[in-house]
Amino acid sequence: MLFSSITFLYYFFPIVLILYFAAPKMLKNAVLLLTSLVFYGWGEPKYVFLMIISIICGYICGLLIEKYKGKAQSKIALIASCIISLGMLGYFKYADFFIDNFNAVTGLSVPLLKLALPIGISFYTFQILSYTVDVYRGSVPAQRNPINLAAYVTMFPQLIAGPIVRYSDVAKQLDERTHSIDKSAEGIKRFVCGLSKKIFIANILGELAGLFLATEQQSVLFCWMYAAAYSLQIYFDFSGYSDMAIGLGKILGFDFMENFNYPYISSSVTEFWRRWHISLGSWFRDYVYIPLGGNRVSKLKWFRNIFIVWMLTGFWHGADWNFIVWGLYFAFFLILEKLYLGKFLSKYKAVGHCYVLLAVMISFVIFGAPDFRLAFECIKGMFGMAGLPIATAETLHYLRSYAVIIVLAVIGATPLPKKLYAMAEKKSAAITAIAEPVAIVVLLLLSTAYLVDGSFNPFLYFRF
């Protein structure tokens, strides 16, 4: 089920709210678990059982890790947890990728499994892993209440597209959390903001990106428009989803970590990745990069660690070579900045901004292209090396048609709207006190209008 759907907004969520707030405190997590299972089962009825098995394994391993703390059995339980979780992820997400490449290398024709990818498996696998690893490290005690652990893993606001909520961040909230009008209002505001980002910007820019992929009349300008539109689409899509998740969490009394912090204002790729998909970046930092030795090793090993982490980051996004190349592409820039560019970029911020935007746009062309050939064609086209005209009538038509959205998206990707709102609030709190609820109502109704009218609504991060 998608947040940006009539079924969620007007059928599922009202029922959840009634059940959740009517339930006594001790049953709230059970209500959250049951409704989350319905939420997940709505899109993946068969894979609910797979997720339940993963949770049970995580639960048992967590208890065993704690029980045998300091002993070999504890490590065995941790390894078992990793093997089971990553094994399931590997089987369902990556098996066909490996078979396909094996066939290509050996010339054999081992049949593909052709399994449907369980929604959110990458997210909940990482959450379960963070739980068992944290228990092993002694950062958190094992959760003895299976409902609480299951509620943590399945919690519908963050289940299918993150942010990757760490158990250590919400362990206390699972037992004790506050609900208030202020927090709910904050959550509603955040949810509606995310919904609007998704519906009014991401989906419409997605149409433009789709037009580029479908057209036979490409041009240099259209290549740039595609790169910009897709980069903005993926940001508004994913950050919009994170906003909705954080907002829903607040309504239900939880505080999830921020996942985006205006990444497109970065002046280096290093900074970009501190602002983009923060929960994933910090997960890889804490559970892969640092255990490998981080930067406190020889230079060669340091670079090896960076390449491993970024190859895995790319591979996490999808079982295809373009995702791996996408990850390694960033590893290259990160090392380049650490070796040579870092000081220069911090001195010349304007150059840094241009460099980041260019590097990121090219990266998303690689990320989003159906195949390498198209990605390279587009990149060549951007730099006038594909023999394309500068612009065609079709390009100019689409530029005119999407100009307002592109401008809104560019402005919306900066902190400017937030700053303007803060200034307005400072100047006249009375006006914003009226304007904010009105804006929420208007945006909610307008979002509803778009949902009622359209069926084009897939989440880009749905399958990751």
């Binding site: 007007y10 009825p45 009008i181 509603i188 709190a429 307008l446 509803t448």
Partner: protein
């Protein structure tokens, strides 16, 4: 204090919308048919183990929830207004308004569709017409976008290529060019179709090319209800309705119209006033969508017969040719197999006209 008011107002405002529409959606009255889109609405799916575990119940319920959302058409209109007005996009769902005309932006010429249409025509020609004394003609009706895109910088399909492709694929037919005779004013503002009262010159040109001279006098009659065309419903914006006029005379009054919609002959009239009061008043012209219909004219100047292979544009044109023919047979191969025509029509020495709009030629998959 003010912040507190803000938060309370936000919660109440969002709550009223979410719970209000939720209850309205659950317990409000539900229709079976969308008048504006002219389609049957989704039904509440049956929930059982099979439909739930296959995911069918969920996907069907999503459609049901969308189709039966309260004030659906109002919301669709709000969306169209924001897309075209606020976001200044050129089209919404492929539709746009220009100079008061609602139109669909046809931008991609489909060679596959043109080939399919041409192949169907060739099949009809080879099967029924090739070794007969029939005279075969072909004419193409431009859609509104042809005129509106010329006046603005809108993207448009290559109409010249469409015509030349179709002409080159149908060399066995004599092409009658009616493009120069038409302008945007000859079409309804809210509908796809042309206005019958404005196409007498088109009928005359087609008749002339076929060797007849349709020049009857008509009384122009006005339909006593506003005409909201198909684009009106699709765009869902509050646009002024069209007025539907139709041309009549004693010849048309005395014609016998027979529909074979059900396979058996059913007597109808040239202008179906029951359909005029229905969902789509344009269907008043020869009863709307009908696979096979005949018009017999007892007062014809000649005993010539005409067979028209057509889409809905032919419904309003055919009455204007009646005076010259003792019988006109209209065949719509979107609703009947072209191979079955021989059971109803004996091709000997009739005039045969293929009359299709660019909309149908470029989306010809329904032609059988």
């Amino acid at each position: 204090m003010k912040y507190s008011f803000k938060n309370i107002a936000s919660v109440i405002g969002a709550g009223v919308i979410v719970f209000g529409f939720s209850l309205w959606g659950l317990f409000g009255s539900k229709g079976d048919f969308s008048e504006s889109e002219r389609r049957v609405l989704a039904k509440l799916p049956e929930a059982n183990a099979e439909t739930i575990f296959s995911g069918k119940f969920m996907s069907d319920f999503e459609n049901y929830a969308l189709d039966h959302f309260p004030m659906r058409d109002t919301f669709r209109g709000i969306k169209s207004a924001s897309v075209l007005g606020f976001f200044r996009q050129k089209e919404t769902n492929g539709l746009y308004i220009q100079d008061g005309y609602l139109a669909k932006a046809e931008t991609e010429l489909s060679d596959e569709m043109l080939s399919h249409a041409a192949e169907r025509f060739q099949h009809i020609y080879d099967t029924f017409l090739k070794d007969t004394d029939t005279n075969v003609y072909f004419s193409i009706v431009p859609d509104k976008h042809y005129f509106l895109s010329e006046e603005s910088s809108r993207l448009s399909l290559d109409y010249d290529r469409l015509v030349s492709e179709m002409k080159s694929k149908t060399k066995y037919m004599e092409y009658i060019d009616i493009f120069p005779l038409l302008s945007i004013e000859d079409y309804y503002r809210t509908d796809t179709h042309w206005r019958q009262e404005n196409i007498t010159d088109v009928a005359a040109a087609i008749g002339s090319a076929m060797g007849v001279n349709p020049d009857a006098d008509y009384v122009t009659l006005e339909l006593d209800k506003p005409f909201y065309g198909v684009y009106y419903g699709q765009l869902a914006l509050p646009v002024k309705a069209d007025t539907l006029y139709y041309l009549n005379n004693s010849t048309l009054d005395e014609c016998t119209v027979t529909s074979y919609n059900t396979g058996l002959p059913v007597e109808k009239s040239v202008y179906d006033m029951e359909k005029a009061q229905g969902r789509d008043p344009y269907e008043m012209f020869l009863c709307g969508a009908d696979p096979l219909i005949t018009i017999e004219n007892p007062n014809a100047k000649t005993d010539k017969e005409l067979v028209i292979f057509r889409d809905s544009f032919g419904s309003s044109l055919a009455p204007l040719l009646v005076e010259e023919y003792s019988k006109i047979t209209l065949v719509d191969i979107r609703y009947m197999q072209s191979g079955a025509i021989g059971s109803f029509v004996q091709f000997e020495n009739q005039d045969v006209l293929f009359l299709y709009s660019t909309l149908i030629l470029n989306n010809s998959l329904a032609m059988k």
